[in-house]
């Protein structure tokens, strides 16, 4: 019991400036992860509910606020703002103070951000259900909620940048490069995408901006956060430094340069001027090359450590996610070409692609972080390793099935359209694929129940976490240039 008690007390440590302060706000981290898991549960149910529509099942027929179109927007927006954002903030609370040696601006502000952000998400979802959506893909949150989101994002940025600016650490670790960039990009991207097309720029010009927004939210917010956490947690778990500092530099600066240029590839062959379309295609292919360097860096870091996948489920999440990432980006380099776009654009191929990247990569990485951190944050061991394994295999199987299935029917749809077959034919040929998509949805939902139940039971079972480096304590790991603290 004493150990549980001590693990929940935040240790007072000497910061990089020699002050004696509480460094890591584990409570905020815990709260954000709990909220993230709750939201992804709702989001998965919404996605599953939407997949019924394609089988002509309408369980909510006649209920206006549960109209399938609205449920779809709830699904995508909850994943972005409820799940991913909460999980990333929770992860930042754990990682950033450790790497900078400085606490965030204010732990009280962190709690306020937690409450405010989740209130905003709930309100925005309510707005979508009431039919106040905004026609920006991935930004369907009602226009009035966008102002609140901007304030929320600004608070998050200020809170963490404080820690970065005040740091007296000699070197800035790779993860922090990614986080720093994301702190600048995210508010800019959000403002650009949600305000300009809505108020100032109509039609085609606005479409170019919306293209940037759709892609930048993935590329400039989710991706840097994801790689930042990979650069932190993989070395911490394997207890090995990252393979090459130089490759890290190439990966980061390549991403920073090419990723923002990609957006227009969402609207190829549209009336958007062709020079922008060509530029987007070329820089998308360039991103794939950059991504390969990062993947090589991690594969080389894992050299000699692959056996750890047997016992470390967290490492499994990271490595499976990374494999999915490589597949996604390789796929992207091909599918973005104007030739391939003629067939696969507008089809389910794209839906499969986006599930592979948002679920198979970033959700998997977050699952890995939760797997690793939940015992440290709560001070209690996982209730059941078996449930965690079920969670892992159900999600992996689910996303593999969904990706393969949607890719295949995407090609079928594209070729049927190209063959000028009657429109109904593309629907009828897709039915079997849409059935298996629903099955994969069930797998993902059951996997989520395994995770949620295990997290709850771990709290209830009160089994002390045996790991010595519990919450907040410093253990100098030999990872990374800056000396990562576990």
């Amino acid at each position: 019991m004493t150990q549980i008690a001590t693990s929940l007390i935040k240790p007072v440590v000497v910061t990089s400036r020699g002050e004696t302060r509480v460094l890591v706000d584990t409570t905020s981290s815990l709260l954000h992860f709990a909220a993230a898991v709750a939201w992804i549960g709702v989001g998965i149910v919404a996605g599953l509910l939407y997949s019924f529509v394609f089988l002509r099942l309408y369980p909510n027929e006649g209920v206006e606020w549960l109209s399938p179109g609205r449920v779809r927007m709830v699904h995508t927006n909850l994943m972005a703002y409820g799940f991913l954002t909460n999980a990333f903030i929770g992860m930042l609370h754990w990682v950033v103070p450790r790497l900078t040696g400085e606490p965030v601006l204010s732990h009280a502000l962190s709690k306020l951000i937690f409450l405010a952000w989740n209130a905003i998400v709930a309100a925005a979802i309510g707005g979508i259900l009431l039919g106040q959506a905004q026609a920006i893909e991935w930004g369907e949150t009602p226009f009035w909620s966008d102002h609140l989101v901007v304030v929320g994002v600004a608070l998050v940025v200020v809170n963490f940048c404080w820690s970065l600016i005040r740091s007296r650490e000699k070197a800035m670790y790779v993860s922090l490069w990614y986080f720093t960039a994301a702190f600048v990009w995210t508010p800019l991207v959000y403002i650009m995408g949600n305000y300009l097309p809505q108020t100032l720029v109509p039609g085609t010009g606005g479409a170019a901006l919306v293209g940037l927004y759709i892609h930048d939210l993935v590329g400039l917010f989710v991706t840097p956060m994801g790689w930042g956490l990979m650069y932190f947690f993989v070395p911490v778990i394997t207890r090995k430094p990252i393979f090459s500092h130089a490759i890290s530099l190439v990966g980061f600066w390549g991403l920073a340069f090419f990723y923002p240029l990609n957006g227009v590839h969402h609207f190829l062959w549209s009336p958007i001027p062709m020079f922008a379309q060509y530029g987007a295609v070329i820089s998308t292919i360039a991103v794939e090359i950059v991504v390969t360097t990062v993947v090589i860096n991690f594969v080389m870091t894992m050299r000699g450590e692959w056996g750890r996948l047997k016992d470390s489920i967290a490492l499994r999440w990271f490595m499976v996610g990374m494999t999915c990432y490589f597949i996604t980006c390789l796929q992207c380099a091909f599918q973005t070409t104007l030739t391939m776009q003629k067939v696969i654009h507008f089809t389910d191929w794209v839906v499969g692609h986006s599930h592979l990247v948002m679920f198979g990569v970033f959700s998997f990485w977050i699952a890995g972080v939760i797997e690793h951190l939940w015992p440290k944050l709560t001070g209690r061991d996982w209730w059941s390793r078996r449930l965690n394994l079920w969670h892992f295999w159900l999600w992996t199987g689910g996303v593999a099935l969904m990706f393969a299935d949607l890719t295949v029917i995407g090609v079928v749809q594209g070729l049927l359209w190209d063959g000028l077959r009657p429109w109904e034919e593309s629907i009828r040929y897709s039915e079997i694929g849409w059935f298996f998509r629903m099955i994969s949805g069930w797998m993902i939902l059951i996997g989520f129940i395994c995770l949620g139940a295990n997290m709850l039971m771990s709290l209830l079972a009160r089994q002390e976490h045996s790991d010595s480096d519990y919450a907040g304590q410093f253990v100098e790991a030999q990872a990374g240039a800056g000396g990562t603290r576990d």
């Binding site: 106040q132 010009g205 606005g206």
Partner: protein, 260 residues
């Protein structure tokens, strides 16, 4: 390169701005100085289907728009209502509003967007069509479960649309579209309400500038630069005339007569 300030300024601000200029501002600059078509201008071309709605559902029409006449004011209001519902129900997530420039008629060999969605006008979507007050923001869409709608005006009758919205399977047996029963006032789907009238008006407006007002279609629309017209016109290669190995004279059956 590994300092906070450097990353903040160069990677964060500068690279983002560069991309914004190249991918956002430059395409935008092409449309600078070209006035966005206002709702008032759009309302100078009222599709006949709107007049039909006013005639067929006079009570519902009056309840919805406060008049029994298909006036410009009522039309503007109906368009706004329709577009709002179109966005609220996320119609644009399953129906695109964009005919891509891929078609044998347009010089590419794969893809038949124009043949399928604009067989009458033979025109892919152009920037002009979106440069109006109804496109804040645009509704291009990224997934096409159901048909493209940007030229949907006149493709079906008002009655077809209303039956389709009440239960899509009534008109398209294999459709997976969910029913929108709250677009109607009664329990039988016979009288559309304000939203239902608005959605049908919106659908019948989409593309009406090409199908109904073709001779004058650009009178009220600004001409936007269309520099994506880079493709050489498609000229189907004619099969080269092969020399007939059996000339007419030598062909034993060509002339129908046995050679002497």
């Amino acid at each position: 390169m590994e300092r906070f300030n450097f990353i903040f300024v160069v990677a964060g601000v500068m690279f983002f701005s560069l991309a914004f200029v190249i991918m956002g501002a430059l395409p935008l600059a092409q449309y600078q100085g070209i006035d966005v078509v206002t709702m008032d201008t759009l309302a100078t071309n009222i599709p006949y289907q709107f007049e039909e709605l006013a005639r067929d559902y006079p009570e519902a029409f009056e309840k919805a728009f406060g008049t029994r006449e298909p006036t410009a004011e009522a039309f503007k209001e109906a368009l706004e209502v329709g577009r709002r519902a179109y966005i609220a129900e996320a119609c644009w997530h399953c129906h695109t509003q964009q005919i891509r420039r891929i078609d044998p008629n347009d010089g590419t060999e794969v893809g038949h967007d124009i043949s399928r969605w604009a067989p009458d006008t033979n025109l892919a979507s152009q920037a002009d069509e979106y440069h109006n007050a109804m496109n804040y923001p645009h509704l291009f869409g990224t997934r096409r479960v159901g048909p493209d709608l940007v030229r949907s005006s006149g493709r079906h009758s008002n009655d077809w649309h209303l039956a389709h919205l009440w239960n899509p399977r009534h008109t398209a047996p294999y459709s997976v579209m969910p029913p929108y029963t709250w677009f109607f006032d009664d329990a039988e789907g016979k009288v559309p309400n304000r939203t239902g009238l608005g959605v049908v008006t919106y659908l019948q407006w989409l593309g009406s500038w090409h199908t109904q007002f073709a001779p004058t279609k650009h009178e009220n629309l600004p001409r936007l630069p269309f520099n994506e017209d880079w493709y050489p016109p498609y000229v189907p290669e004619e099969a080269p005339e092969e020399e007939d190995p059996y000339g007419a004279e030598e062909d034993p059956y060509g002339s129908g007569e046995e050679p002497a």
